[in-house]
Amino acid sequence: MPWTKLAADQSACRLDETCQDAGAGRMISYGEAIREAIQQSMELDPQVLVLGEGIDAAGFLYDTTAGLSERYGTRRVIETPIAEAAMTGVVTGAAVAGLRPVLMHMRNDFLLVSADQIVNHIAHWQKIFPCPNGLPLVLRAIVARGWGSGAQHSQSFHAMFAGLDGLRVVMPFTPYDVKGMFLSAVASPDPVLFLEHRWLYGDKAVVPSEPYLVPLDSATVRAIGSDITIVGMSLSNRDVQKAVETLRQEHAISAEWIDLRSIQPLDMKSIIESVQKTGRLLIAENGPVTMGIGAEISAAVTEQCWTCLKSPVKRIGWKGSTVPAGTKLEEQFYPGVREIIDEVKRIATYGK
């Protein structure tokens, strides 16, 4: 099995987090890292195939699938009809039978068309059936934002699918993670909903050229701090990062920044460890606040860190569940660095 070998190699040479900040090395973008990860997964394992709308057509899903069909043939690179429900069933069946299919969606909004297959089938399959092959499939989907994409093309469904034990959900933020987590998603015996963010595609960082794995179930501390913990996810990390810097420089607030990375399962251990130190928590949702993953984190942290919490867990996120199209409406809709800073200041001075 190529994937067990990769995992073994990795524990030998220990390519982990620290690596990406090493400075030296090849810089590539988030989008390029995805493309490389897809290509390497196909190279590593002939059982990997990719399917989707527009993956073998001009555009190539923002270039992430360019060149694949020339290299691996249309047997392994399957341009599909616009039939998300059936194609989701198809990858389920293929995974049951032992292939490692990756189904790709240009927008995660389209996942809803296949919600029955995801929720009623994929998320239960391994629990109700003995699955000698596991259920190694990846649903890759892009979260978008802005330019008036509006109600049906700017949603983020990480939280809607976060309550299903049988489906992993991840939201990588960095080029390093997106590559390593994609390879882990393909390697995983469990189905994975792999949510990318369109606005991160241009971000560049050092990414090793060889294949490597980043765990699917662990958050990561991206900045160490002592006054408050801020949890970001996917794009919201970008604002968190800026806020953390400003808070340190201008407000003498030392914030610990956790990039959630995994939505299901939640890495509560990392969050709790941090909150035990800081006593304060803000979750920056990349989505509507209500019923966001922040609700679950808040509830769980409050249960488990009651005595060390100095102020109630707070959440910040979109103004609602329908994203408007107009420019100013969009501006009003999304919170930004400013709002995070203000919220942190309120939390830091809570009760004082």
Binding site: L49, P81, G93, N120
Partner: protein
Amino acid sequence: MQLEQAYRLYESMLTIRLVEETLVQEYPAQQIRTPVHLYVGQEAIAAGISLHLSDSDYVVSNHRSHGHSIAKGLDLGSFFKELYGKSGGCSSGWGGSMHLCDMDKGIAGTSAIVAGGIPIGAGLALKQQYNAEANITVIYFGDGAVDEGVFWETVNFTGLKKLPILFVQEDNGYASQTPSSQRHAYKNILPIVERFGLMTAELDGNDPLAVAATMGELIQKIRMGQGPGFVRCHTFRWYGHVGVEDDTHTGYRNAADVLSWRNRCPIKAMEKHLLVVDPVAASKKMKATEEIIAEKIRCALQSAKEAEYALD
């Protein structure tokens, strides 16, 4: 049909029938606590198809899954255990009647969502095609499942990719208590799916010999890569949609129809055939077969009753 095959067909149908009659008997004791959708009356279809399948061929089934699974070789012990929610059940007690499975036998899974299993079947077939196997996938569904869009999406994808699939529509005239005429804008689905590149056949699903013969030919063609197939099998379920009661009194099916279909019992038809083609031995052989099956069922049932409940 060769005699040996005919006996196998008979045995397969009779196994399904006797298993389900056992369920009818045992159900009132309320130890089988899972909704059962009986296959009685429709046995010729799964039996006639499975005659031509090996363990490497897949089947995907729906809520009415007992016959499909048993014909494909599901161990009766693990079947009964599953229905009793016992440890050792084919789905570890998690599935119940509507979620049978045995990958070693090619029983890939069962969805209780109408049409939910259909695209999954296409994925199984995609793997068979991908690996250039000569194996095929049989997808079972009813006249109701074709109402769902995902059925049409799958038919299109199957025709496009020429997947090695046999679509088996068990047309018993009703989805739950609603007749096809209240749900379909068309009378016959076959000329429609033909346009998607599927080979088609229309069958009396209660005629085991016809089923076995037509399915055999079609499956052979599918194996040889001549494309996917779709068979519409006219049939009738004897019991209510769910549970073990005769529901004729509820009035949605006319009593004369129920009777006329009951008179067209596929197992009786097979008995008659065997008596004709094997006049000397048939009677005895059938009796022996029945006894063997009954004994198997007794053991399986017993083992299920005695087994521990499945626990988390």
